[in-house]
Every structure is written in structure tokens, then in C-alpha cells.
Amino acid sequence: MTASFTILAAITVAGMAAAMGLRNAVHCVLALTVGFAGIAALYLQLGAQFVGFTQVLVYVGAVAILAVFAIMMTQSRPSATPAPRAPLWAAGGAVAAAVFAVLAWAIHSNALSVQALPPQPEAAPSATVQQIGDALMHRFVLPLEIVGLLLTAALIGAVVIAMGRREEMK
């Protein structure tokens, strides 16, 4: 439990909570980028550099921008998003709190089995880009091809869905 982990965790949780709690949708997405960047920093701290930079590239760079564009295209007037009704707040918040309570209880009650893990290495295990590339090209080559196919299908599908009907474009 180092100080850097505490600081990064606080920034990440604050950003994510703001992203889910603010009234203005554009402010939500701006807070979301802070949370995504915090998660990327946590990846870097865990020694997974490639995943950390992928997180910055995909989430901070692409998904957040996409969400901002979607919000700008769907908000005809800059009105704050309506707040949910009080009973819904209570029920949804209770469900989320119960999920967190169960997960935290499971993590704490499994302390023995977690301690049964091998002694933790002080230095992070190495995961260089070369090792990751080797694994992608040998052991994980079939999933890689399938992901390529999935991304192509998603690209075409997103364009087709968002394009609209032919008569509207005339």
C-alpha cells in the first residue's frame, strides 16, 4: 500500500464518481477522461507499460472523444440531463452498494488464500513489447485474427447504423 497507489486510486475514484454524478453530460465525459488516465497510470505502476499506453490511446483518445461527439450530436439545447426520481436513486444506489459490500467481503475473507500466493516479487515481471508481440504472433494468433475481424465488422456496422435511411439523406 504505497503512497503513489493511494494518490492514483483517489484520483481515479474521484474522476469516475464525478463522471457518474455530474449533471452536465459534457462535464461527465471530461471527468471520465481523468478517471481513464488514472487507470492508465495504475497500469504503468503495475509494470504493464504497453497496456497503460493502449489505455491512453483507446480510452482517453478515442472512446472519450466519441462520447463527446455523440453528446454534442444528441443535445439540441444545452440543458442539464434530468435527475432520476428519488425512489430510483435509493434502489439503484442500494444495489450498487450491496454489490460493493459483497465484493469487499469476498476480498477480505479470502485473505488466507491470497497470502498463499508465492512471495510477491519486488520488481514487476517483465512484459516488453517484444514479448507481447511474440505471444500475439504465436500463442494468441487466432484470437488476434478474430479481433481484427470483429473490429472490421464493428467499423462497418457502426457506419451503417449511424448513416441513417436513404430518403432522409436526399
Partner: protein, 103 residues
């Protein structure tokens, strides 16, 4: 508390925040963002288990996270396109008013 438990607790907290957002927000885009947040919490778990797990040389945690990020990006693109198409039809992204599938 060892470091792995710290990361697991943080991940559980992020998952709960995302779940609360997906359940409570009425803007469809913010619900989608809440789902992305839950996916991110799961990815953080994968990386933490890779770092503190017994066989880090296998790189399985990193591979799973990379593929998960790719699938989540595809999901976000298609989801936002669907929201745009639904908005064009019903002129709203308020989920309480988007209660009909009929055209």
C-alpha cells in the same frame, strides 16, 4: 492488507460506481459510459492478478486485457451508433422516454 487486495478493492469500488451510473443515469450515453467503466474495473483486476499472480511469464493477464480493450472499443462504437440512430428516430436520449421499439 497486501497490494493485491488494495487493487482488488479499488477495482470493486470502480465496478460499483459504474454499476450505479448504469442503473441511475437516464441519459443513454452516460449509461454506456457506466458499462465502459465496469469493463475497465475488470481489466484492472486482470493486470493486478498478472502482476501478483504465480505465473507472470505467461502474459495471459496482459493478453486478456488487450483483447478486452479491443472488444470494448468495438462495443462503444456500435453502441454510440445505435444511440445516434435511436435519437434520430425519437429525438431524445432520455431512457425513460425511449420505451418503445416500434417504429
Amino acid at each position: 492488507m497486501n497490494p493485491l487486495q488494495g487493487y482488488l478493492l479499488l477495482s470493486a469500488l470502480l465496478f460499483s460506481i459504474g454499476l450505479a451510473g448504469a442503473l441511475l443515469r437516464r441519459n443513454a450515453i452516460l449509461v454506456l459510459i457506466g458499462i465502459e467503466l465496469m469493463l475497465n474495473a475488470a481489466n484492472l483486476n486482470f493486470i493486478a492478478f498478472w502482476r501478483y499472480g504465480p505465473v507472470p511469464a505467461a502474459l495471459t493477464g496482459i493478453m486478456f486485457t488487450i483483447f478486452s480493450i479491443a472488444v470494448a472499443a468495438a462495443e462503444a462504437a456500435v453502441g454510440l451508433a445505435i444511440i445516434l440512430a435511436a435519437y434520430r428516430h425519437s429525438r431524445t436520449t432520455d431512457l425513460d422516454r425511449m420505451d418503445s421499439l416500434k417504429g
